[in-house]
Symmetry: C2
Subunit: 158 residues, 2 copies
């Protein structure tokens, strides 16, 4: 009648531990070989996919703090990996765009990132990979939908 609770089996703990492991391990690849931080890597990926995004959009789509985006952009700009233009419609907005150097850098990193991912998932069967995909999607959906409500509770209580 002991063992009501075991940290080792507690999902939030397991998720945190695994996510940290993944992040540290993969971030090492970007950093060692390309001297790129995680926020910078996300920015490269987002801008490669959708050029001319604003910093705000990057923050939202890359799950990053706007302060972190601001700082990461400075670093990328200094290295000539991206350029900013002031938006024609709204002078507050930065229109961001990878330079050809930035594009090439991203295209060097991306295959390594995908290799890393493939290697990480190689212990799973194809069925399990499909299941993981579906499960993550459901949990993400759930998380997204409850986020606003929790914010309200948060500000109401604390």
């Amino acid at each position: 009648m002991k063992a009501l609770f075991q940290l080792e089996k507690f999902l939030p703990y397991r998720f945190d531990r695994l996510a940290k492991h993944i992040s540290v391990s993969l971030a090492g690849v970007y950093r060692r070989r390309f001297n790129v931080t995680v926020p910078q890597w996300r920015i490269l990926a987002l801008l490669h996919e959708t050029p001319h995004m604003s910093a705000k959009d990057i923050a939202r789509q890359g799950n990053l703090d706007k302060v972190m985006v601001s700082r990461a952009l400075v670093g990328l700009e200094e290295r000539g990996l991206l350029e900013r233009y002031i938006s024609a419609e709204d002078a507050r907005v930065n229109e961001l765009c990878l330079t050809s150097t930035g594009t090439r850098l991203f295209e060097s990193i991306a295959p390594l990132a995908l290799d890393w991912e493939a290697d990480f998932l190689k212990v799973l069967t194809p069925q399990e990979r499909g299941a993981l995909e579906r499960i993550l999607s459901k949990l993400e959906q759930h998380a997204k939908s409850e986020a606003p409500a929790l914010t309200v509770i948060e500000s109401a209580i604390s």
Copy 2:
């Protein structure tokens, strides 16, 4: 022939985002209601399960930095939630033990934590929950086994 890489579908990104969401949301429960941090919560859980652990064992089993453990212990001790004894075999080692107050506090939090977990998983079918369990175990196993190798590479390169 675009879209070789989409951040939104990249597993490390998805894991990081989901884990952060979980952590922030759940940590709010401990903190608001009980003024307990995540490391403190892990320590309470581990000591409840296995009394008389050392700080080092807690760091390893709770996936925490030893500095963080040291600091979290001070907070718990000050609140009278745990006591330390100097180990009889080795005077460097702290033998840690929850007080009855600490035990009661843990036993107040645990059901809420489990409720939170159940609520979080309620969008999954029983089959999916089983699959998630199995998948996580495999990935954890894989992560654990490659960790030492990566450390070697790390120190060799950087």
